[in-house]
């Protein structure tokens, strides 16, 4: 621990030096696009953390897009996520020890970065001059929302007749599904329902009622494959990241698209405080919200923003109720996700 204090001291000196070199964040906030580009040019590199579904070619395509758009020659180091909760925890622990983050830009779901916001570990920035829609700016300027997952019940269309396809969430409570349903350990999907019109009480009652259906439990990838094999017919929730690749390969797993509201977790890009190459990171975050960025992200991960006209998610969302998480609801969703995990039998004391 004494070493950590030493680190902190060295870190403080480092931060002062760093700020003298690249400028105080307040200065950055007032900076023009040209200033950010010029600073990014000096930094020259980005440590880019993103879901492994993006893949290295996808990340490289993003780098090419950024370089082309801003006339840069940034080198991108792609860091595919191993485990988002553990990686965020590592960053929080490192920060407490005065150790700078490994990554300049982190692309995760909104819930995963909630601890960075609550512990004020985001590098805040005014993204508006970079052309980012103010509605996409989250966590008090600490992150930019650039895509939405779609979360709905999913079923094997070869095994479920059209007349039996759930039309609403409550249809999953029909006794005919007993022993034929699965639920994933991404219990925050269900917790997010509470963030919308359902509220906490109705959502909790729904989860409790689900337990009477003799659910099969498992992790996302496993449940997707159990659906394919026919071990279960319907998964209570599934996200489009899982289904994107399967869709292109003719897998018979589809969403019950009539079900509403649609849970739509956001993918956000946040710059951790103390990042070594923040300006490149700001440009990347802004680029992800552009039409070019959306196309690349969609091609590799299947997700786009429900708020950028013309994207797949935007089209899908038309006429549907989306449940989005407000930053103030992050704590509630975290609490409910853990509670629902216990109710459903996933573990936890």
């Amino acid at each position: 621990m004494r070493y950590f204090r030493g680190c902190r001291s060295r870190f403080s000196r480092g931060v002062i030096t760093f700020l003298l070199v690249v400028g105080w964040p307040g200065f950055v906030q007032a900076a023009s696009v040209d200033d950010v580009i010029a600073a990014a040019k000096k930094e020259g590199v980005i440590e880019f953390y993103a879901p492994s579904t993006l893949t290295l070619p996808g990340a490289q395509a993003l780098a090419e897009g950024v370089n082309k758009k801003y006339g840069l020659n940034i080198k991108l180091n792609y860091n595919p996520s191993g485990s988002m909760p553990k990686d965020i925890a590592k960053l929080v622990g490192l920060s407490a020890s005065g150790i700078p983050p490994e990554w300049d830009l982190m692309c995760t779901t909104d819930a995963h970065q909630a601890p960075l916001w609550s512990k004020k570990l985001h590098q805040t920035f005014d993204y508006r001059p970079l052309g980012v829609n103010p509605k996409a700016i989250q966590y008090d300027g600490g992150a930019v929302s650039f895509a939405n997952q779609i979360v709905l019940p999913a079923y094997n269309k070869k095994l479920v007749a059209a007349k039996d396809v759930p039309q609403k969430w409550e249809d999953l409570l029909d006794p005919k599904w007993k022993g034929k349903l699965a639920v994933t350990d991404a219990t925050h999907h269900l917790a997010r329902l509470a963030a919308g019109a359902w509220g906490e009480e109705k959502t909790t009652n729904f989860v409790k009622a689900l337990t009477k259906q003799n659910l099969m439990l498992g992790r996302l990838g496993e449940i997707y494959n159990r659906l394919l094999l026919g071990e279960v017919l319907v998964s209570v929730t599934m996200n489009d990241s899982q289904m994107h690749a399967g869709r292109h390969k003719g897998a018979p797993i589809v969403f019950a698209e009539q079900v509403t509201p649609v849970v739509a977790p956001a993918y956000i890009a946040g710059v951790p405080k103390g990042a070594k190459h923040p300006h490149v990171a700001y440009l990347f975050a802004a680029f992800l919200t552009t039409t070019e960025g959306q196309k690349i992200w969609e091609k590799t991960s299947g997700a786009t923003s429900a708020f950028i006209p013309g994207t797949e998610a935007y089209k899908f969302a038309q006429g549907k109720k989306l449940v989005l998480m407000e930053q103030e609801q992050a704590g509630m969703i975290e609490r409910l996700a853990v509670e629902y995990g216990k109710i459903l039998g996933f573990g936890g004391l």
Binding site: L217, G218, L220, G230, E231
Partner: protein, 582 residues
């Protein structure tokens, strides 16, 4: 006073070597205290704090209160006990006859069977488990469907979604590792005892039960202790078979604490849960050390006319082959067939004509872009360096523990065993923070070397269980003869002991290489873009649901390993022949 005792007295009082030897043993102990003790200290500190590692905060027992005041903990511990005990029993039921057949009898195709046993581990456990689901799932399992059709049953005959099902699958997958731990002990057994039994008209089965098993009891006990601890910490089978049926074991609770659906991991809670493993590990280590202290009575490789010889099975040869084939079918053939079938598909499908129409080599063609070269190189480094260092340390530790009267040899053995009682996730988190905190002095963090260190620490326990088992069986008179001839202790180790235990050491080397290839928890926790290994790529593909891509990778690795391991086995069989080594 006989000549051996005279030599011992002279050894202690005149040449002063024991003092030097104690210094050497002390240095080994110090090394273990550093590489095992520091991460262990981090784990203990984690369990006594509520924040994240690095956040500091006051020490508290709140995690222990939360864990041990909750009745659910005890239900989970009971499940864990049943699962672990069942797994060990299943493993022993298969492994003891297997090792006897392959090491003591003239059963055919030994080298091929050994290679198959080795490469079987390369099939990822979750894919192996999917094969079991295809066979025994109450809903889609082929065995159940056939049984229902043939016997007109209304309900499935078998279900694997229960504790016996979990224990069976886990126990079967333990067999190869246990086999290589026991192999050398059986290989080096003096056949004169069996021959005496045969001369007295004792049957082969009775000889096996009354001579082979009792003589190898320390090695069997070591395997039981090791497997029991492994069963407590494994996660894949509890996750894939236990979780769907809400059966929780200790590793499930640790997983849910460290991989929450939202928010931050609770390493403190995980540490408090892991304390159970530490306590159980210490208790088992205590009993094991007591057993080892009685080891002299198990010494069977002596200097008097030692010559391993095979027992002729006669008419029992083919029933023995059937037993081996049954095991290999469960462990290797069926999982590999499932792996190969899946690797040809665009997505998971049960075998059908429709599925057959979709097969292609696409998953093999896209493999270079899915995997890249760096994970392959890093994995190759791990697979060579980890077993090499772990086995060198294991031989030296066992040499002190089994061959010396050093007062702290029990502690040394316990220190070598303890890492096996630390949950891998916590060990890696502790090591990761140490690596970061001291990165200016030991720039290991983010490199393949930190994963290497984590693996070495973890598998010293495996290595020492094997080397303890084989060293016990080598009678001291051989070393004492060497000393009489004027050889130094190190020369005795190098020229006499090592050749006699070479089979065990090399078997363990191969096995640790396989474990290092397969390990994912620590590799993932210490993962950066520079130290990515194949197992983390497999994990990521699996997490994405890309099972056909993982399967293609698995097929290539299994085939490649079959060639490499086959070659090594040929070399091993020559080195491992006692006569040839001399």
């Amino acid at each position: 006073m006989d000549i051996v005792t005279d030599v011992k007295i002279a050894d202690r009082t005149v040449d002063g070597r024991p003092r030097g030897f104690e210094f050497f043993a002390g240095a080994l102990m110090a090394l273990l205290l550093v590489i095992v003790g520091l991460p262990l200290l981090m784990v203990v500190l984690m369990s006594l704090r509520t924040g994240l590692p690095g956040e500091g905060g006051a020490l508290t027992l709140v995690n222990f209160v939360a864990v041990y005041s909750n009745p659910k903990t005890y239900q989970v511990l009971m499940n864990t006990l049943l699962f672990a005990t069942g797994s060990v029993v299943v493993a022993l039921v298969f492994v003891v006859p297997l090792v006897w057949l392959l090491m003591r009898t003239d059963v055919p195709f030994k080298k091929t069977i050994m290679v198959l046993l080795t490469v079987g581990i390369l099939i990822p456990v979750f894919l192996r488990t999917i094969a079991w689901i295809l066979l025994l799932s109450p809903k889609i399992g082929l065995v159940n469907q056939w049984a229902m059709q043939i016997f007109g049953l209304e309900r499935p005959l078998l279900s694997l979604y229960n504790i016996p099902g979990m224990a069976f699958i886990q126990g079967v997958s333990f067999v190869p590792g246990a086999f290589f731990m026991l192999a050398a002990a059986y290989r080096t057994m003096d056949p004169s005892l069996e021959e005496a039994a045969h001369t007295a008209g004792v049957s082969k089965l009775r000889t096996f039960l009354k001579i082979n098993i009792p003589i190898t009891m320390p090695a069997i006990a070591a395997v039981m202790v090791y497997l029991f601890m492994t069963a407590i910490s494994v996660f894949e089978v509890p996750a894939i078979i236990g979780m769907p049926a809400r059966i929780q074991v200790l590793s499930s609770l640790i997983y849910s604490s460290t991989s929450p659906p939202a928010g931050l991991p609770d390493y403190g809670l995980a540490g408090a849960l892991g304390a159970v493993m530490l306590v159980v590990g210490l208790i088992l280590a205590y009993f094991y050390v007591r057993l080892v202290r009685q080891g002299k009575k198990y010494a069977v490789v002596t200097g008097r006319g030692y010559r391993p010889r095979e027992i002729a099975l006669g008419r029992w040869k083919w029933p023995a082959m059937a037993f081996i084939f049954l095991y290999l079918a469960m462990e290797v053939f069926i999982p590999f067939l499932v792996l190969f079938w899946t690797s040809l598909l665009p997505h998971m499908q049960l075998p059908s004509m429709e599925a057959l129409a979709t097969v292609s080599w696409n998953n093999y063609l896209t493999m270079p872009s899915n995997v890249g070269i760096r994970p392959v190189l890093n994995t190759a480094v791990l697979m060579f360096a980890v077993p090499s260092v772990a086995m060198i340390l294991s031989v030296l530790i066992s040499w002190v523990v089994i061959r010396s009267d050093v007062s702290f040899r029990g502690m040394l053995d316990t220190a070598a065993f303890l890492p096996h009682a630390i949950p891998h996730i916590l060990l890696a988190v502790g090591l990761g923070y140490l690596g970061l905190a001291y990165r200016n002095y030991f720039p290991l963090y983010g490199t393949i070397f930190i994963i290497m260190l984590a693996h070495i620490i973890s598998w010293i326990a495996y290595g020492t269980r094997t080397t303890n088992g084989v060293m016990i069986q080598v009678h001291r008179e051989l070393e004492e003869a060497g000393k009489v001839a004027g050889a130094s202790k190190s020369r005795v180790l190098w020229r006499i002991v090592l050749p006699l235990i070479a089979v065990g050491v090399l078997n363990s080397w191969i096995w640790i290489a396989m474990l290092s290839y397969r390990e994912v928890t620590m590799a993932l926790t210490l993962f950066t873009r520079k130290n990515v290994v194949i197992s983390t790529v497999v994990w990521q593909l699996w997490g994405n649901g890309s099972i056909p891509e993982v399967s293609a990778l698995g097929v290539v690795i299994v085939l490649f390993a079959a060639v490499v391991v086959g070659g090594l086995r040929i070399v091993l069989s020559r080195i491992g022949t006692i006569g040839a080594a001399n």
